[in-house]
Symmetry: D2
Subunit: 365 residues, 4 copies
Amino acid sequence: MKKSYPSIYYSDYLHLEKLLTSQSPKSDEYNEHAHDEMLFIIVHQAYELWFKQIIHELSSVLDMFCKDNVDEKNIGVAVSRLRRITTIQRLLIDQLNILETMTPLDFLEFRDFLIPASGFQSFQFRLIENMMGLNIENRVKLDEKNYYSLVSDEHQKMLLDSQNSVSLFDAVDQWLSRIPFLKIDKFDFWEHYKYAVGTMMENEKQIILTNPSFTEEKREKQLKVFEGTVEKFEALLNEDKHNELVKQGVRRFSYKSTLAALFINLYRDEPILHLPFRFLTYLADIDELFTTWRYKHALMVHRMIGAKVGTGGSSGHHYLMQTAEKHKVFKDLFDLPTYLIPRSELPELPEELKSRLGFNYKIKI
Amino acid sequence: MKKSYPSIYYSDYLHLEKLLTSQSPKSDEYNEHAHDEMLFIIVHQAYELWFKQIIHELSSVLDMFCKDNVDEKNIGVAVSRLRRITTIQRLLIDQLNILETMTPLDFLEFRDFLIPASGFQSFQFRLIENMMGLNIENRVKLDEKNYYSLVSDEHQKMLLDSQNSVSLFDAVDQWLSRIPFLKIDKFDFWEHYKYAVGTMMENEKQIILTNPSFTEEKREKQLKVFEGTVEKFEALLNEDKHNELVKQGVRRFSYKSTLAALFINLYRDEPILHLPFRFLTYLADIDELFTTWRYKHALMVHRMIGAKVGTGGSSGHHYLMQTAEKHKVFKDLFDLPTYLIPRSELPELPEELKSRLGFNYKIKI
Amino acid sequence: MKKSYPSIYYSDYLHLEKLLTSQSPKSDEYNEHAHDEMLFIIVHQAYELWFKQIIHELSSVLDMFCKDNVDEKNIGVAVSRLRRITTIQRLLIDQLNILETMTPLDFLEFRDFLIPASGFQSFQFRLIENMMGLNIENRVKLDEKNYYSLVSDEHQKMLLDSQNSVSLFDAVDQWLSRIPFLKIDKFDFWEHYKYAVGTMMENEKQIILTNPSFTEEKREKQLKVFEGTVEKFEALLNEDKHNELVKQGVRRFSYKSTLAALFINLYRDEPILHLPFRFLTYLADIDELFTTWRYKHALMVHRMIGAKVGTGGSSGHHYLMQTAEKHKVFKDLFDLPTYLIPRSELPELPEELKSRLGFNYKIKI
Amino acid sequence: MKKSYPSIYYSDYLHLEKLLTSQSPKSDEYNEHAHDEMLFIIVHQAYELWFKQIIHELSSVLDMFCKDNVDEKNIGVAVSRLRRITTIQRLLIDQLNILETMTPLDFLEFRDFLIPASGFQSFQFRLIENMMGLNIENRVKLDEKNYYSLVSDEHQKMLLDSQNSVSLFDAVDQWLSRIPFLKIDKFDFWEHYKYAVGTMMENEKQIILTNPSFTEEKREKQLKVFEGTVEKFEALLNEDKHNELVKQGVRRFSYKSTLAALFINLYRDEPILHLPFRFLTYLADIDELFTTWRYKHALMVHRMIGAKVGTGGSSGHHYLMQTAEKHKVFKDLFDLPTYLIPRSELPELPEELKSRLGFNYKIKI
């Protein structure tokens, strides 16, 4: 960066001549000017710009994590980029407030011009879903059609390519499965964890059995809940049961990865685990924020068109409601809290392991 | 306000000595200090303060609207107060972000101390739901129990009282049913509306029947959708069919009120209808914002406790998800857009009626 | 809207092929890839899209208000559009949070490539300022240069044109000056207002003179403040004094408009004045939100480049701070509260006038 | 946490009987009911609750950092807590939107009852300022009085105590001054940094001197700016000059701490420095968010009372504007970007040092 560079004009740098001539309201073309169509166009264009930025960030994180070795420096960078994605997502959610300043009656004035264009055709959003790791089998179908059948051939090709590439889910699953620490020398962490859980459970059972304030009905009900919890812990620590759940679609992470993710959550205060913990947290944040966006979007569509069908020919409202629930990618991370145990019950790690989880340079500052 | 008043000290005015001594973390009481319990307490207290404010605003609007005559000056005031409620609700939604800075592991440190306390026991929130007009039959049950069985006897009494009082829904229903304009002199608006809908429908049918690009399958499907729309319009203009839908729980507003609400939406640009239009819009906004809050709350609970049961003894996550869907009060307003027709198709109102919808003083400014 | 329209593809409708190829990072061009330059570009492009939308809304409001008669139906529409602008502005403020995810060190990696491009060259933002009514004499100069000297010849022409056209400020000033009601038949509102102010003032003076708890020093100080207030009220009700203040740049609205704006604020609950009141409020909101945006922007620039000069060759931080204070257009509206008197002291309007401020159709609903 | 605990009722846990009876509108007491006084009270109470929470977080961070050795585990915890403070601050800023739903006329109805109570008397906010490290000499005076003279004797004592205790600023200054790495074995980082800066500067000078597109006037101006930059770098690397700036109030961190903060910013991607970097960033965020809050608050006060004096007897608007500028505590951090140099120019660290900045356990995952 030593030399001097040609002068740049703001407007050229941003290609404003292209950007600001990309709004062509159909209502004007058909000589039935509808004031709010401009808003409709610009809101969607702003969404697409931000989708491009999210793709830019996701790609860079994917590049770092799909390697066999993830450079330890990169975890901090990845955390910053995922955090940026969540900041953008919060804006995307608030952006719906702007679209909501358009009333249903105003929308009606140009709605018929747009058929069958629809947000379902946003290939960038589909790309994001694929990059995150949404499986074709987990996708909600629209009128019994696959998502990629709604877009142009060119975009379809892009989507199918991305569907067949390594996703962030895959990369994270791989990365987690390689995390060490779980068995070190003679220390088997999971043996200790199992014991802690067992003691905790036994104690809880005693409380249920002996609590004098319980009615028999209440006691029985509580015992049932208790047994459910016991089963869940058993499934966690039994690889076969885990693989069974994977087959049933209840779990998606591999056995090893699940345990690694849990370990990171339990010992996140150890320096070496802090950034991995943040990283996993941001992944779940991204999932949650897309879910929120889809849900708020569904509510808005309902208010905009009532019980009518959407411009894309289907009930946008119900489709979006369903995707809100089902298009989460990292749902395993949402279930992790089930297996947390209070810090006070956590097995004490051996000194040697603890030291390995710290920094090389023993600063005492 | 002519005399001078005794001096006031900020801290006394706000009763800070009470307010700031109302936080008693259980973890401290049991000598197991958990840093984040303070946050947990303060977030919930902030919620309860805002609930009190919402009740204050709702009560005042209810007072204005439960009269036989609503003063025309009051509609502007009511609109401002409903708008204030929506501003508060947006804050309540954002406030969840603060609670989310507490991690599941941190929550675990004091969670067991709180059993069976739970947000389900917020009698103020239940009061708001009752004041809005949520019916006992539309409420999602919690463990097959009624919502009021979870609170103290004193609070139960308050809830049952509010349940039996005139709600905002009732008052608005009454007010809408009294709105004039729909039949004036010889002009029957709904005859004209029916005709406009008929023409529009006939035209749409022709398009479906003759569109050469449709496959037969597609044509049939479109016709089916079309017939559904026809039926909906018929139900709208037929009092018996409407009352049938009321019985089935599909509609809740009376026949007259439904038509009045539609008229207000269609002719909202007439000066006299502008504020009633804003008023109805804010009612739907309030519903939508509570729905969003419940949904985001449900997502947060899921992340906080995973598949465990909540402190209140039930699956908070599923309960909240269900209430998000089912506790909307003004859902009739969400369905109105179904019956809107484009401005260009709207019946022209007779001059005399139009003049009645304007201001008394003919300012041309 | 009776016929059927050609099918539209989402991506074509939004010109995504243009939109998504409008990002050309300089760092890539110079083979020194800087990951965050994409963010920098996209944030600014999103700003420009929203500026276009704001211009779209402002133009339409300007069209309605620059006429000799403003249609009473249009005030509601104008209020909705100004409100939409404020919703967009809140997003623009939040959008700064996204830019803040870029650290100073990351910015340094491509900053030198951009010289001398700078946000000062956003002609759309300058256009908005001109449309609002920012005078050339009130503009903060940048390095002693006029704002338009920084942009291309083509953009310069656009800016000079807009500078010489009727602004929203001009149109609102005209509109307010035409508002009737202030002198009706034998009722001279301002005589009554003057009297009410006089009584209020006399009463306040007595309190200051007789309050036994005051020290002499305190009493004198209070009297001085009191006299300042008296002078302000006198200037309000004296056209010559008002015109003097206009010359000094303290006031900008004409005498008549100032009184009309005050009257609207005092009697905003009268149906005919409610929407004009909202209209004026949103104008002040827009000013306040741009001010907030400039201020937050200034803080961000400070953190991004420290005490260095901006890419535009000047201290962006100080320039933005100054514009935050000085580029308000409707500052007269911010000073109005000085002249409000409590509702209890307000002159009662004669019945006939009151009736004129109501609706034509006496609904009692 | 092994035993079972007594049942808790939500309402008792939160002391709702105290909390919800702490609103005593003066307008009701004086029989001049003003609807909006409730809002005024509740907004301020919500602020005070959050101030209590901020104090809770600040205290805990202060406890960790005022020790001679800061446990490396604690830095992650501190970062989370500072981040929580910023999340709360964003809410505090948005909360102003709720207060803004009260119009100046509505405020007038109870304003006189409150004199001389005022937000200046919020001892909790003053406590936060003291805990952060705001010096008495940097405080803006109000009517030439010290901030603590406005509060009750009891609160005054608390404020004076906090003023004389170790602040977060002090603790961070100490902590930074102990950070090692800057001179390690034979490697003197600052020698290398100085050299890099020198080369960069020489290069920049050549560009200015030889750029053929510059007018002589422009060239001279650029050279002046350039010399200013050179001086700044010299002051950075010269302890005497630095101490001179400290005396003048331009700098506040010690020489060692300033260099340590710069080093952390330059090499933040090294694992051991990542959390310290986040920590410093959040400190500046907190400053920036309080500044934004004060500024928005000032704008709101202006709109609410115009040119009148505030209830506290002074011009709230101007006071708040001034504090926005001057009450920043960590302003040294805002100036740091001045001294950053692009990553490509950064001295390469010796392998041994780099390894010390990494984790102990060489995971390659």
